[in-house]
Symmetry: D2
Subunit: 400 residues, 4 copies
């Protein structure tokens, strides 16, 4: 058995105190690992130093922003990934990449365990541990906050007693998780789902009700991946960062919903995801132009399944991986441009075009020059209606 544990470290109170707790409870050396998934805020080196100051034997910082965009956000765009048709899976996407680096760091640094700072009421504990189970099934997962039933008060007390370098002068009323794909906010008064959100809780999005000029942009997709904005080539990460700015300035991407957690309870959640909502809207509409009807209809069902699996922490599961293979195959022709008007909190598609378009002007036009052979419709309808017709005869005979 190794005597090391790798902790997913955020720099905040809970995981800072967690370093000491883990050491006390397990006797293991604690390696702190912090990942940059575009959450911004603090400098990563400051976070690293704090981990050491809090007692970590080693502290690792990883810039995973491009990988996060390429390997986690891009699949979500291809899948039009919205849980319950609304939530763009902000935290659900970041947990698997953090888990991947926890497992990798544990292997590299000779740890036999990983740890995270989640409570036992949420989805993230499942996402961390299920991902680790699928990547490194022999690693042990430790969740001190949950398993030792630690509370905020106990954490503050511990930090004070051990003189930990944690600036906790005034407690923010908001509990936040954020990354480049979006932001989740929780706070006491929002626990009543009848209470409306207030402007103060938002940081990625401006107030959509303030009058301002609309912004019009054109997003280019290549096989489902955003590759240019207004004609300028971008990486996926750059696309997301730029759209957060442009769409966020127009108040696009606010979500307020009652959500079904994997652990069986309903919760009220408020999110911001300006780039997420914009990109998924645009991508889905480009699919409407370039994917065949039956494939598109089926893909919408697969997308619902995909979003639920990702929400439920099964990113690395066999089913999720095979669904990704299906989804990737559907993206062969999803290339083209979508024009989006950002305004008043909305990302409205106003145009779409593609060299791989299945829209056939000659078939679709009602003009006399159209090529659709209308006489075929009669036979089609007869056979299309035949099951209904036959059963209508039966039903009427039965009831008559």
């Amino acid at each position: 058995m190794s005597d090391r544990v790798v902790l997913a470290y955020s720099g905040g109170l809970d995981t800072s105190v967690g370093i000491g707790w883990l050491k006390d409870a397990t006797g293991k050396e604690v390696v702190a690992m912090a990942i940059d998934v575009g959450q911004e805020g603090e400098d990563m080196e400051d976070i690293r130093q704090r981990a050491l100051a809090c007692g970590a034997v080693e502290a690792v910082v990883i810039d995973a922003r491009d990988e996060f965009a390429n390997d986690y956000i891009v699949p979500a765009i291809k899948a039009n990934g919205l849980y319950q048709k609304r939530y763009p899976l902000v935290s659900a996407l970041s947990r698997p990449i953090i888990a991947k680096y926890l497992a990798q760091t544990a292997k590299e640094l000779g740890a036999d365990s990983i740890a995270h700072g989640c409570t036992g009421m949420g989805n993230d504990q499942v996402r961390f541990e299920a991902a680790v189970a699928a990547l490194a099934p022999d690693l042990l997962c430790i969740a001190p906050i949950r398993d030792l039933a630690l509370t905020r008060d106990k954490a503050l007390e511990y930090a004070a007693k051990h003189n930990l370098p944690i600036a906790q002068s005034k407690k923010s009323p908001y509990s936040v998780d954020q990354n480049v794909w979006g932001r989740a906010v929780e706070t006491g008064f929002l626990e009543d789902p009848w209470n409306a959100p207030i402007e103060d809780i938002y940081t990625y999005t401006a107030d959509p009700s303030v009058p301002r000029e609309a912004t019009e942009i054109t997003i280019t997709f290549t096989q489902g991946v955003p590759t240019a904005i207004d004609g300028k080539a971008v990486t996926p990460l750059q696309a997301v960062v730029l759209l957060n700015k442009l769409a966020g300035a127009q108040g696009v991407g606010r979500i307020d919903m009652v959500e079904d957690r994997l652990v069986g309870i309903k919760s009220r959640e408020v999110y911001e995801s300006p780039a997420g909502i914009t990109l998924i809207n645009a991508h889905e509409e480009l699919e409407n132009l370039t994917i065949e009807r039956d494939l598109a209809r089926y893909k919408r069902r697969v997308e619902a399944e995909w979003a639920e699996l990702v929400y439920d922490g099964l990113w690395f599961s066999g089913l999720k991986r095979s669904l990704d293979v299906f989804i990737n195959d559907t993206q062969k022709y999803v290339s083209g441009e979508v024009r989006v008007k950002l305004h008043g909190g909305q990302a409205v598609i106003t145009g779409r075009r593609s060299d791989q378009s299945l829209y056939d002007f000659d078939l679709a036009t009602y003009d006399t020059g159209g090529t659709f052979d209308q006489s075929q419709a009669k036979g089609f309808i007869e056979i299309w209606s035949l099951p209904s017709k036959i059963s209508a005869r039966r039903d009427q005979a039965t009831q008559g």
Copy 2:
């Protein structure tokens, strides 16, 4: 064989001329039937008189507005009925009720055939004929525009020659179908899906980009049916009419999409449905509060199926009817209030509450007084992850 045919009559050029065409082509007497499904515009009595003037042997006018709201729109609300996640099935809902009255009128007035004015390129021909097949399988369906390959020019010529009382002084550039649930607009320049819509095409919705004060309303649902607005009891029809006014004034409910028609082609469609989008948004969120997770997840799949069936003209099919039974059963507890802010083209839910809520504050709160037993999570996650863990061991052994 009877010598009568009942024609679905709109009062417009095509069906006015259709009266004569039908007579010429079949030798049958033509009964004109016009239905009020809230399309507004012309006085129904004027339409009736015009039918007679155009040669109909009888002309029937039916006010089906409440029935349309109760028996067609309400099921669509319960089903959160959006084809391709966007289109609230405006015309798709009205065709079955018209077909029902075609069949009923044919029976009452001794006709052996029904007729409609659809072309062979669209969905509505299928919706009419499939509905009639399911209701009166022995009626013959005639589609003069389609089957005789009639064009607008021929219609104008015929109308002039026979001196039909049709005001066709200036041709509107728009082809419109509308009812109380919404409005569909087609016109030449929109056939290029890259062209943006212009303000001129909209009549149910004001320009959402004009600065104005937001409107806040509270919608009450009882078992999935809208029953009050701002505390004042309404019928479904009244709810739709009032919300068209309130949400339309805020520009809510515009839809611009590439659509997959049943006849196998893609078309670009622009719709307005202020009440539709508002009610479906609100209803779906109330379901999030009151329906169990697994049932809600499954219902979302059923909804997609339902919308496709209705879009595809199978309103009266066996599958559609059994899905309705399922959906109705899910609405037992979908009662409560949803607060909606109408502004800038959006209907944003800002609160929801219900005596039948499944949201349990004591379970959901992170406060120390919460009742969720966090220690259960550990066992849950272990078993939840077990299939991934077992297959990870297998996969690694296989690859190793």
Copy 3:
């Protein structure tokens, strides 16, 4: 708090010893409840007396055979309920009815807890506790074998020490659960899924490889429910009992499979269900004759979902109940007769007929007198193929 617990009592070693264990561990009086679901074997009064002799303060015996057939087996027939396409849900159907009586008895006799004798590795613990949670959410569930980690050896020791009246002279090598719907057998050598079953493990079915005369029967269904066999009216229970005899004598209904347990592991299972396999086969084929294509196709998906929910212990869940409503609605016309040849381990359908048949001889015949209008097919195929044709043009242009 009450001081009573109701134990699901089988009369076997584990639950007999469980009476004492429960008393020791909880201090509560133990009420033993045994249910007759057609498992045969011991006399129910003997079981009752044994419970009292083992220390139960009360012992209740319930004959639930008809209710089990009417309310649990009949829905399974209507749903063609086969988990993984094979397992007729033998134990999965009996657990909810036992749980229902546990909850009811607890209420009647003033207990605040229920108990069962399941281990922690199987599905039945989930089925019991999830059913109780859905029926009596405030009852506590106790599982002494699992939670106290009790083993067979400890049970034997306890029984000897307390002189419990348990005939355990020679240990059967088989662990069996059975009821009127079938029988599940587990035993050590079958834990290797490569080992073939031996004749000795079967009791509901004769060796199918022994030459014998075939048995031919006709089963009548009325709205999905078996109501007569060979023209003689039967209750559902009588149908099952009679078919167990007739089909079992021909070796029908043996199942040998690797099964995915809810708790995340695979297990090898051997079942017998002569009536189950016969009735489901016959019922499904009658549906082929009487249910419209699209409804039938959709119902097959619903059936898979239904079987998984029931297997997973969610009999009383909201989704399962709404699926039942859907399934019931599909059975309106599933009335008629199916002729089955029982022989060599197979229940082969050789004929089916119904007054509600959708089979239309005049349409289906290739004879010259047939009424199918073949000319419609051309238009149908053109439109049916149009999406493929349009995308083929696109694909070839793209690749070209």
Copy 4:
């Protein structure tokens, strides 16, 4: 415009006469193309000569047996392809490969049209034409039997008048389509679905009710493909041929069902597919051993969709192709051996094993040495049941 048409030629009466009809009706030269998909019967060179004698300008014979097995049957095995859970898609699999060679031959020999001998009542016309539409969208499809409403009597008359070399001395009462994957039989008395099949109609299978010794075989699969039988390496074609012999001799693979045709009618069908039923049974059970639960459950839904698409003639459609990609991905670990006992019309799996097995003896065993941590179950069940428990409280409060 070209003046050639390629006809799918079987050597039988209809397509022999069709050569002349096509010439008469279209003025085009007729190229006859016959494909060997393992239908056996006549020598292919005899068929070729007959085509020429009947007036074909060219006659092409193609041995497609291995391609048929590798590219059409193998995907069906991987998909456990059974329409309505029973029909192994015998004709549905051969039509696309014939269509592919029709399109290819047309291109090579400069034809602008293809032709087939199907009537307008069946599925095969759709399968041919939809496949051609997806492969060569600009080819014209001609169906003389259907479009000219030709009958058998007219064909006989034409053959006599033109002295065509067709041995039609005694008319077989059976209409048969067969290939190496199976055989479909139609005949007048079977059009009444209450009539039982008679032994005389079967040729691939011996009477299963005749007593004989069982045959036991072991089938090896490698990533879903049958690669050895009883340890001897085989190609897919060899596997199918050998299993037809072995399983056919035991009467395995007879199917008698009422089927839902794509053209909207129900028909009664009788099939034989000894290798098909044996291979699908064995393959599916090997999946039970080697595929994770959630992936397996989802794949079963995909399989139903796959079978319907193939049945409905959409082999080359976008959705079918993307489903194949999904299915292929699931087969990575479906390698191992399945032992099958062939007897009395049944192919019974008696053992399965795999180096990639997910069956974990140590977890599954009830022995005291097992490694399953039963204490986790309690937490799992609590959270698994929580939605039911919460809604039970709500429901009871509402009803109370």
